[in-house]
């Protein structure tokens, strides 16, 4: 019996193996887990059945004719409906290479034949439990963000109307810029939690056009500090290949930092130039000298403790740059601080 009270529904497990005898053995073993078990003799047939109804866990034989276990796994990992379904590989192979490969293609575990009843049951139970916990976390995350974004949307739209109807004033700008920061922090948190499990497919983006649009969001913050923003590009249509959400997280953090630490009534400059084969993007502000630029990228490090912030922003900048092999450099003197990105199309 599964001793997990949270699970009201019967777990649904699929075993895939081309040898009917192995399937029979697994069926008997799994009787101990109180799960509903489907036994399938080919990878292709299994994929069809899985699309109809996604199992809570899959036991998958590696060596099968036509389509082997690794291929089945890769197909399942490609589809959003099945990419989080835990897959335990089964194999008579006890070599290190196939074990390593099993984890590389996204398997959660590896059981060698001949099966030991206690071991199979223990592993299946553990992975089911983990799977349910993750599912619950994901649901909680999705729903809480959904619920946070609803009032945020109301605040944003009501502020716009207030401004339209009664004109602009300082308090309104402050509320606007705070809501924008709040939104940005939530997006950062969501990205930080999700970045390992969600796919972020890249696309070609015109950097200059993107920045011109994006800077609109920061108008209230800039207005409050009487800042101007200048975007210049010496390249016509500077294109970079990156995921849009990741580019937003990256640039929002650089821009909001540049604004946060800028001296009042100064200019935030964004310059796009060519540096050899690389696109060079510099975000500069006039501010006091940064003592130790390298430290900037350490998590939770904050230059100025009077400025409240979560400090996850720069670590996200760092992670996204690492992912796309974008080099980051920080230059800082008495008057000007620049964050510089170097991007090269591979």
């Amino acid at each position: 019996m599964l001793e997990d009270e949270n699970v009201e529904k019967k777990p649904y497990i699929m075993a895939i193996d081309d040898t009917p005898y192995n399937l029979e053995v697994l069926r008997v073993i799994l009787m101990d887990t109180d799960a509903e078990v489907a036994c399938v003799e080919s990878g292709r047939e299994a994929i069809g059945m899985i699309r109809e109804r996604v199992p809570d866990l899959i036991l998958l034989d590696i060596m099968m004719p036509e389509m082997d276990g690794f291929e089945v796994c890769e197909i399942l990992k490609r589809s959003p409906e099945t990419n989080s379904t835990p897959i335990i590989f089964l194999s008579a192979l006890d070599d290190i290479n196939s074990k390593v490969k099993a984890f590389e293609v996204g398997g959660v575990d590896y059981i060698t034949k001949p099966f030991n009843t206690l071991e199979v049951v223990a592993r299946v139970k553990t992975h089911l439990k983990l799977h349910y916990m993750l599912e619950e976390m994901n649901t909680l995350l999705r729903e809480s963000f959904h619920e946070i974004y609803t009032p945020l949307g109301l605040i944003k739209s009501s502020l716009s109307l207030l401004e339209l109807e009664q004109g602009d004033n300082e308090h309104l700008q402050n509320i606007k810029s705070s809501v924008q920061s709040l939104h940005s922090i939530y997006e950062d948190i969501y990205y930080a939690i999700k970045k390992e499990v969600r796919s972020y497919p890249p696309e070609w983006i015109d950097l200059e056009a993107f920045l011109n649009k994006r800077i609109e969001l920061f108008k209230p913050q800039m207005k409050y500090k009487r800042l101007k923003c200048e975007i210049t590009s010496e390249i016509e249509s500077p294109m970079i290949r990156i995921n849009l959400t990741e580019l937003e997280r990256l640039m929002d953090n650089l821009l909001s930092n540049a604004i946060k630490y800028a001296n009042e009534e100064s200019i935030v400059k964004i310059e796009i130039t060519l540096s050899g084969e690389k696109i060079r993007l510099a975000v500069s502000n006039s501010s006091k000298k940064i003592k130790d630029p390298k430290k900037l990228f350490e998590k939770l490090y904050r230059e100025d403790h009077s400025v409240m912030g979560l400090g996850i922003g720069l670590s996200i900048v760092r992670k996204i740059c690492d992912k796309y092999d974008i080099d980051i450099d920080v230059e800082s003197n008495e008057h000007i601080t620049s964050f510089i990105l170097y991007y090269e199309e591979k």
Binding site: G153, L161, I235
Partner: protein, 216 residues
């Protein structure tokens, strides 16, 4: 414009309606997809703004219904669902754009205007050398006579024109003109060469390693 709005969050719905009304549009709003289907005449509107997650009949189902009726009115989805799957599903069904909640009302206005401009303003584009591109026939005219382009060339030119000065990547061109067939950059660039011979060499610009764009 006459805009049909579907949003079940009552205050947000009122805010959007009020905002668009201030901006000079006429707005009918609903909080329930089923009621909308019963009461609104979908043929009457110039623009749809639909939330996806609404009671009874959801935004996706409504869009499917609209496309079945051969209504080509532009539609923007607004949704708090943040998954890439929903976005691609929306575009697959044929929405014009997708706006993630929480958004700025100004952003919504901007997107509506962008779509309206790309939808209706360009029946024809005037090109240098007295040429005219016509979106309906997907051909180039000189003195009212169509110029000779192959089927593939017409498709490639169409997608570049459609992007209206924005960069069109090789991938986009290939997806549009070749779907799943074999394709490569050389084929595309040789087609572009031939197109340039017909419409002039300066009209389509290369964008370093990425694709092409219309330069007028």
């Amino acid at each position: 414009m006459k805009i049909l709005l579907l949003e079940d969050e009552e205050v947000l719905c009122r805010n959007i309606e009020k905002f668009l009304t201030i901006k000079g549009h006429q707005v009918d709003s609903y909080g329930d997809g089923g009621v909308l289907l019963d009461e609104a005449n979908l043929f009457e509107y110039d623009f749809f703004i639909f939330d996806i997650n609404v009671p009874d009949v959801d935004g996706f189902e409504l869009l499917t219904y609209i496309k079945d009726k051969k209504i080509e009115t532009p539609l923007i989805f607004i949704s708090a669902m943040v998954g890439i799957e929903e976005i691609s599903k929306g575009f697959k069904l044929g929405c014009s754009d997708y706006l993630k909640k929480p958004f700025e009302l100004e952003e919504l206005e901007l997107r509506i205007n962008n779509i309206k401009n790309s939808f209706s303003a360009h029946e024809r584009i005037e090109l240098p050398g007295g040429l005219v591109y016509d979106f309906d026939t997907k051909s180039v005219y000189k003195d009212g006579e169509p110029l000779e382009l192959s089927k593939k060339q017409s498709e490639i030119l169409y997608i570049i024109m459609k992007y209206n000065g924005q960069v069109v990547s090789f991938d986009t061109i290939a997806d549009y003109a070749y779907e799943d067939d074999f394709r490569d950059m050389h084929t595309i660039s040789s087609h572009i060469r031939d197109i340039r011979k017909v419409i002039g060499s300066e009209t389509i610009k290369n964008v370093r390693g990425v694709g092409y764009k219309l330069a007028l």
